[in-house]
């Protein structure tokens, strides 16, 4: 079975000298879910940016078996840590419909599909408001909706529960559990990782410290201590 995402020996440095991502390799299979765990500054977000080609890293990234290109990136949905970055249209409905409109779907049809997705996420009432008027939890869900609308086969989420209150985080976790595609979560929220993901990869100073099933990783307090996660 072809992997959805294959990353091999990824290396990156901001200044050309000190590597902040040091030979990271991992694989995500269809319908798999991987948590990239690490303390703040461990390189989780940088790793995601490198995977997406937003930072010029060395190494190999393959999406659905093919080298990463603009075309192959269309199979990938991304949710930033700060959803404000992603939602800039005058109405939430337009934000969510934009990827479909850009792919050539009729505007009305795109809006209908966007509305049904927003309804599923409990945001239909806010669809005519700008994202800036929503709560952070709602904005996070809206950013997920915008990423999901084009039916990606892989969804990358950067700190999805960061800055959320417990209730909003729980609600978001339930939404993530219901998603059918492969997931990669960069997070330091161990509870989220345990609930949503099957596998985990622990990063420390940009290098892989451990990889395995979530249960094995999270039930090893010595490892979590060394990774500065507890």
């Amino acid at each position: 079975m072809t992997s959805v995402l294959e990353v091999e020996n990824l290396r990156f440095s901001f200044d050309g000298r000190t590597e902040v991502i040091r030979g990271v390799s991992f694989e995500v299979r269809p319908a798999d879910s991987l948590a990239i765990l690490g303390a703040s500054g461990a390189g989780k977000s940088t790793l995601l940016w490198c995977v997406l080609g937003l930072l010029p890293a060395r190494g190999t990234v393959r999406i659905l078996g093919a080298p990463r290109t603009r075309a192959s990136l269309r199979h990938v949905g991304v949710v930033f840590q700060n959803p404000e970055d992603q939602l800039f249209m005058p109405r939430l409905l337009d934000d969510v419909a934009l990827p479909l409109i850009n792919r050539g779907v009729e505007v009305e049809q795109a809006r209908t599909r966007a509305l049904s997705l927003l309804e599923r996420l409990g945001l239909a009432g806010a669809c005519h408001r700008p994202a800036s008027q929503l709560s952070l939890g709602e904005r996070k869900k809206a950013a997920i909706a915008a990423a999901l609308i084009a039916s990606p086969q892989l969804l990358l989420l950067d700190e999805p529960t960061a800055e959320l209150d417990r209730r909003s985080a729980r609600s978001l976790t339930q939404e993530l559990l219901a998603l059918p595609m492969s997931l990669v979560l960069a997070t330091h929220d161990l509870e989220l990782a345990r609930t949503v993901c099957r596998r985990a990869l622990v990063l420390r100073s940009g290098a892989v410290m451990a990889e395995g099933t979530v249960c094995r990783i999270l039930d090893d307090p010595a490892l979590l201590e060394r990774a500065e996660l507890i």
Binding site: F80, D85, F88, M89, P99, N102, G104, V107, S132
Partner: protein, 135 residues
């Protein structure tokens, strides 16, 4: 190397547009275009080569240069904010509308620009508020 050269694209386009406007208006094409490029090169060299951070934080609190130094560091900080916001905005647009020049691309770019200025305005307000609190 190519990435660095591409950064000069907007300056070259601006210089070309200035020359084109002069030519279209029926007037003489002056040296404005090369002066534009020369000023940009000079500013880039000054910014890149001078040890600004050392100079900016050197003045003592009683120094007559203190206010100028504070102003310069404020401008520098705000320029970095603008750059970071622009980078994030363009990245979001690239992910939301990956097919360039296709349906919705220009319209979303317009809204992105409006959102960008709104966010820059908010960042400027926050920065001003933090200065008021600290000074």
């Amino acid at each position: 190397m190519m990435r660095r050269l591409w950064r000069w694209g907007p300056i070259v386009v601006l210089a070309a547009a200035l020359a084109l406007l002069q030519w279209l208006s029926g007037g003489r094409v002056t040296g404005l275009w090369w002066q534009t490029v020369a000023v940009a090169v000079a500013v880039a060299c000054a910014v890149g080569l001078a040890p600004w951070s050392r100079w900016l934080f050197r003045p003592h609190t009683r120094s007559p240069w203190l206010e100028l130094s504070l102003f310069a560091s404020l401008v520098r900080h705000f320029a970095l904010l603008l750059q970071a916001e622009a980078r994030r905005a363009l990245l979001a647009h690239r992910l939301a509308a990956p097919l360039r020049y296709r349906s919705g691309w220009f319209d979303s770019l317009r809204w992105l620009l409006i959102a960008y200025f709104r966010r820059v305005w908010i960042r400027a307000e926050r920065m001003y508020a933090s200065l008021l609190v600290r000074l």
